[in-house]
């Protein structure tokens, strides 16, 4: 979000409600990726840990930009307006997405799904009956998520795709069924 339209500088209540949602989306995504990085670190999967840490940093940066733009004295609590349907925010990776043998490509695949979900959420707000300033912001945010998705796709093309049997462990932590 780089531009600030006159309507948005009015900081209407609805606009603030929506931007609080946008902030929560970025913050939750950053926190989840940071948790994933810790989990991968603990399981000595350093390449994927580093990647999740990087993704967390990107999301934290997006959250920071929203904070800077809004200049809230304190972050407003989420209201029911603009709520997402799922239990967690649309850009938050599901907690059970991980495998201890996963590879960078898998991490990027997770990130891609999250970006696309966020894009879809923002597009739905942009297409809805929210005030014009909210719809404009939602359009811009959807565009940003689309750009992120394109970047991740490009990134995915540069890392090796996992070979068949990538999750086979000769000394598995579980007993064979």
């Amino acid at each position: 979000m780089t531009s600030t339209t006159p309507a948005r500088t009015e900081q209407s209540y609805e606009y603030s409600e929506f931007m609080a949602r946008a902030y929560a989306i970025e913050l939750e995504a950053a926190e989840r990726y940071a948790q994933f990085a810790e989990q991968m670190d603990e399981h000595n999967n350093r390449a994927v840990a580093a990647l999740f840490r990087k993704l967390s940093g990107f999301e934290a940066l997006h959250a920071q930009r929203i904070l800077q733009e809004m200049a809230w004295p304190s972050v407003p609590a989420l209201t029911p307006a603009y709520a997402w349907e799922s239990a967690e925010a649309p850009e938050t990776a599901p907690f059970d997405s991980l495998h201890y043998l996963m590879q960078p490509w898998h991490a990027l695949e997770i990130a891609l799904r999250c970006e696309l979900q966020a894009q879809k959420y923002f597009e739905s707000i942009a297409a809805g009956d929210a005030p014009p300033s909210v719809r404009q912001a939602a359009r811009e945010l959807a565009q940003e998520e689309a750009e992120h998705a394109a970047l991740i796709r490009e990134w995915m093309s540069k890392v090796p795709q996992p070979a068949e049997g990538w999750d086979e462990d000769p000394d598995p932590p579980r007993m064979s069924e």
Partner: protein, 278 residues
């Protein structure tokens, strides 16, 4: 719960210790840890005013991952330890962490009597229907037909129904959460801490290693279609049609919390110690 302190409010991260969890990647218990720390921050508590007591199992590692006082106790014995602590230090907010093996099998009897006593504790049970730490044995909540190398063809045993048992035994607050919704779990835990007496929060927490099929739980869980009730009979009727995937608060009782033990103590600690000899 004890009164929140007036110092600057803490964030969830302030309740996380420097020890990193060693659960399997993707384990639901990560979300429960996150929910607990969020709940404590929401409640405006401080780590030095909270104790987390546990037994044995994957879930029982939680005290070490918080900055609160912690006690990682004996298998199945988290509740007696927590009861003693709360009776001696009613000023502390005491959370108890357990799993379906630790809490319903080894500690099953303590569960009944903790409900009955109604001491002001919050009991969080991470239920994954399996003994994960010891490599996948069936637990009391395992489905009778779940077949594994350790129980070929399944146990054929009827599952334990924790919410039914909790209600029948006198728990004063009964809720169910899902670890895929850490914010929802945090809200349930915060409400449980605020509610007087013994609060029981069962959290469905998939074991991605020994029960990978539990990833499907995210499709099965749904918000409970009914509001919580204070009427045990009504709650019991609702449980008759519960399939184990309704999420939310089922019961909020009005029974006063037990609070008599400390006031009735007639011996000083030194007198009691004098009675022990090695």
């Amino acid at each position: 719960m004890n009164a929140p302190m007036t110092a600057a409010a803490l964030a969830a991260k302030d309740f996380k210790s420097d020890y990193k969890p060693v659960w399997c990647p993707g384990c639901g218990d990560y979300s429960v840890l996150s929910a607990i720390t969020k709940a404590l921050a929401t409640l405006g508590l401080r780590p030095e005013n909270v104790a987390v007591v546990s037994g044995i199992g994957c879930s029982s590692r939680i005290p070490a991952y918080t900055t609160c006082y912690g006690f990682h106790g004996v298998h199945g014995r988290a509740l007696p330890a927590a009861t003693g602590l709360k009776a001696a230090r009613p000023d502390l907010t005491v959370l108890v962490a357990s799993g379906d093996g630790d809490g319903y099998s080894i500690g099953g009897n303590h569960f009944l009597h903790a409900c009955r006593r109604n001491v002001d504790l919050t009991y969080i049970v991470m239920d994954n229907h399996v003994y994960g730490m010891t490599k996948g044995q069936p637990s009391p909540t395992t489905e009778p037909d779940w077949s594994s190398k350790l129980a070929p063809g399944g146990t054929g045993l009827r599952e334990f129904h924790p919410l039914v048992i909790a209600l029948a035994s006198g728990a004063n607050y009964i809720a169910r959460g899902f670890s895929g919704d850490p914010n929802g779990c945090a809200a349930l835990i915060a409400e449980a801490v605020r509610h007087p007496g013994f609060s029981f929060v069962e959290i469905l927490s998939p074991c991605v290693t020994f029960r990978p099929e539990q990833r499907e739980w995210k499709q099965a869980v749904r918000p409970s279609p009914v509001e919580p009730t204070e009427d045990p009979a009504r709650a019991a009727r609702r449980l008759m049609t519960d399939d184990g995937f309704n999420i939310g608060v089922l019961f909020k009782g009005i029974r006063p919390a037990f609070s008599g033990a400390a006031a009735q103590a007639t011996h000083a600690v030194a007198d009691l110690e004098a009675g022990f000899s090695l």
